[in-house]
């Protein structure tokens, strides 16, 4: 579904990603982990071209999205993204946050979009918050709304960029529960996270990045109990 082929990314002279190749198959849940500055967020952001790769290719369903003539806007509609800091639209109510893109971009009828939005709010457990503004929500609620907002576009792939890193500890669980539920529906997901327990439980595969390189790629059981690389061993010792 997402195929990354020898991807490199530099900001000026600094090389943040070096020659990364990997694949996320349909229905896969992939957790991307690694120390800060390892390039994991950049890798994720390259997948919907929030960052433009310096070298290499990214294929979504066989279409090269890095090609000059690619319809980036269309590709992005297939890929939902959830950010560390939520980025809800503060001047819109929760419901409007969910209906805005479907109505304006997908040209869905307003009533249909609203119905769908209420359904999604129910799924993330926030039916009662439809008409409030984001500023009235807790961090965990904001993130759940942000997930629902992405889902409202009916994406085929969901990207999560440290979705729980900005949350108070007691709110992490409610967001992870929603993500777990989503994983069970067979959604294709790529998740940058520091939640090792969650990665181990939910992910089908772990990508371990360090210094812009893909150091190790393995199923969670193997990665957490028998990491192959010295660097991953050190990292896990500190984390667990």
């Amino acid at each position: 579904m997402i195929k990354v082929e020898s991807l490199s990314k530099s900001f000026g002279k600094q090389e943040v990603l070096r020659d990364i190749s990997t694949e996320v198959k349909k229905g896969d849940v992939v957790a991307i982990i690694g120390p800060s500055g390892s390039g994991k967020s950049t890798l994720l952001r390259c997948m919907n071209l929030l960052e433009v790769p310096t070298k290499g290719k990214i294929l979504i369903d066989g279409t090269d999205i890095t090609a000059k003539k690619a319809d980036v806007t269309l590709v992005r509609q297939k890929i939902g993204m959830v950010f560390q800091h939520f980025h809800l639209f503060p001047h819109m109510t929760v419901l409007e946050n969910l209906t805005y893109a479907p109505v304006k971009v997908k040209k869905l009828a307003k009533e249909t979009a609203r119905q769908k939005a209420r359904e999604l709010l129910g799924r993330v457990g926030l039916s009662d918050k439809a008409d409030v503004y984001p500023s009235k929500l807790s961090g965990g609620q904001k993130q759940r709304v942000a997930i629902a907002r992405s889902l409202a576009m009916e994406p085929e792939i969901m990207l999560f960029d440290e979705p729980t890193s900005a949350l108070d500890p007691e709110m992490v669980k409610e967001v992870l529960e929603v993500m777990k539920g989503l994983a069970h529906t067979g959604m294709t997901m790529a998740i940058v996270t520091h939640e090792m327990g969650f990665a181990r439980e939910v992910a089908d595969r772990i990508l371990f990045l360090d210094g812009g390189r893909l150091i190790e790629e393995a199923p969670p059981e193997q990665f957490f109990s028998r990491p192959q690389s010295e660097r991953a061993k050190q990292f896990l010792e500190k984390m667990l």
Partner: protein, 217 residues
């Protein structure tokens, strides 16, 4: 000291409010729209547009407004044979001038909107134009509202400059009354009072608008 308010035609002066507001409102609308476009030029990645907007602003910063008004009003017929009216010349010049300053304000307002808002919109597949109109501008507008009020107050007061090209605004009417009666203090102080009241009303209106926009905070 000689003061005689009985000879002054206050009604005649007050009727200038309509003209003053006409110039101000039209110039404000024109200035805001053009200023918004210029601000987009300024944040654009196209060097030519950026350069144009910066150069444009420097022209209005670097010349007296009263000179520009005279230039547009008196030189247009000479250059194009088109007999421009005072209203056209006044609105165009005040609007062009206001746009130059507003574009700076809007630019700063746009840049002050969290960059995550932009990314969230992009990630949802929202095209640039819609993103600017529906996501970025409304938030930028809230940030820059106080500065915009100042700008429209400046515009209201600058509109008195059109009295020099024959528009019958508040100031011009006051000077006409002065010339007819040889009494200057009375009509001019009345005109000053009118401007003052209008500015105060504008300030109050802006405050309540600001309160309404803060609803989502």
């Amino acid at each position: 000291m000689h003061l005689d308010f009985s000879q002054i035609d206050f009604r005649y002066i007050a009727e200038g409010i309509y003209t003053t507001l006409e110039y101000t409102v039209l110039a404000a609308i024109f200035g805001f729209l053009w200023g918004a476009v210029l601000s987009l030029f300024k944040i654009s990645s196209i060097a030519l547009l950026k350069w144009f907007a910066v150069f444009y602003t420097s022209i209005f910063r670097g010349t007296p407004l009263i000179l520009m008004i005279s230039l547009v009003y008196f030189a247009t017929p000479q250059l194009t044979q088109y007999d421009i009216t005072a209203l056209q010349a006044g609105v165009i010049t005040l609007g062009l001038n206001s746009a130059a300053y507003i574009s700076e304000t809007i630019r700063a307002g746009i840049l002050a909107v969290d960059k995550g808002q932009r990314e969230a919109a992009i990630a949802l597949g929202v095209p640039y134009r819609q993103m600017m109109l529906d996501i970025i501008f409304p938030q930028a507008f809230k940030n820059i509202l106080p500065a915009m009020v100042n700008e429209s107050i400046a515009l209201l007061k600058d509109s008195a400059l059109v009295s020099t090209i024959g528009a019958l605004d508040i100031l011009r009417r006051a000077t006409i009354v002065g010339a007819n009666t040889f009494l200057y203090f009375e009509p001019l102080i009345f005109a000053a009072l009118l401007y003052y009241i209008m500015v105060m009303l504008l300030t109050l209106a802006a405050r309540s608008l600001e309160r309404r926009l803060r609803r989502s905070d």
